[in-house]
Symmetry: C2
Subunit: 189 residues, 2 copies
């Protein structure tokens, strides 16, 4: 899929500069307020170069987001290996909320990208979803979680948490959603 073409030294350098500055601007929550052209200058790069590397704003966001997602997925795998499935799922979900809380920019980005019908974050999103699906499947196998509601519903709830990132009482409500999901998932006996 990703046919990694040999990239000229020059190009790699600029690309890194763009990604680095993007992460920075992201964490400051200014990513979507910035003129795309101005961003290029901010990163010390010409407009044309910016556009060659990342044809759209969303493409750049997706590139940054990719690293974040990889980290989250790793964590999911680690938890899955170290804890009983139900506990792993709970810890992971709470961890995601925590992560979004400390990286507000990320939450906002996810919300924007998800609302965007271009499917810009398809790849990263799928990876995250796979991680959640695995955790849920393990918990079901373990008998701790009902099987009539899929991981998709959990993803949707996460989407909601991201999408509503600007609510005044976000953190408490996000925790509430996770609580409802986890308690709701418990196998009813």
């Amino acid at each position: 899929m990703t046919a990694d073409k040999p990239l000229r030294a020059d190009a790699r350098r600029k690309r890194e500069a763009l990604l680095a500055k993007a992460r920075e601007v992201f964490d400051a929550g200014e990513f979507f307020d910035l003129r795309f052209d101005d961003f290029a200058r901010l990163a010390g790069v010409g407009t044309g170069t910016l556009y060659r590397h990342f044809p759209t704003r969303e493409a750049l966001a997706e590139a940054v987001y990719h690293g974040e997602v990889a980290a989250l997925c790793d964590r999911a795998r680690q938890l899955g290996a170290a804890l009983p499935a139900a506990e792993a799922l709970a810890t992971f979900l709470r961890g995601v909320v925590d992560h979004l809380d400390t990286h507000k920019g990320l939450a906002r980005t996810l919300a924007t990208l998800m609302a965007d019908r271009t499917g810009a974050l398809a790849e990263g999103s799928r990876a995250l979803e796979q991680a959640v699906t695995d955790l849920v499947a393990a918990a079901v196998r373990e008998g701790a979680v009902r099987e009539d509601v899929g991981a998709g519903a959990v993803m949707m709830a996460l989407h909601g948490i991201g999408a509503a990132h600007d609510r005044p009482d976000w953190r408490a409500e996000a925790d509430g959603v996770i609580t409802l999901v986890l308690d709701g998932l418990r196998r009813p006996h």
Copy 2:
């Protein structure tokens, strides 16, 4: 709040024309693909007039959305009066999913507006939230629902359902979320 100013006959007519055409375009799912200027001409109105009545695309969406929300809120009140609180809440939430399912355009609009930091749908959204809050509060009073998780979490879950409207298996997953929320809300004993 809404200081209904006496509107000239002329103005009212144009305003109605805009809203009518907007609803139409909405249901066709073309609302966000249309040049705003072109929309004015479509409605048989000058650009200036469009902008005077609805300063932004979001303002127009919000105006259309307002009617929809009013209907939902009415339904919430009716259910609250006719059924035990817990049942009313369940029926209402399932009804919202049903409504979004038959009005895809609405779901997409909500998703877009919610992702938008301008708070364009603040008013309608607040009304809907109030309705949910009332239903939840009644259920808590009735003792059927836990009190450590607020209505805000339920709203967030609803946001998620709207935000994820383009997932392939949307309906089933949305129902799943509602199931999780309702089961999660049951007072743990």
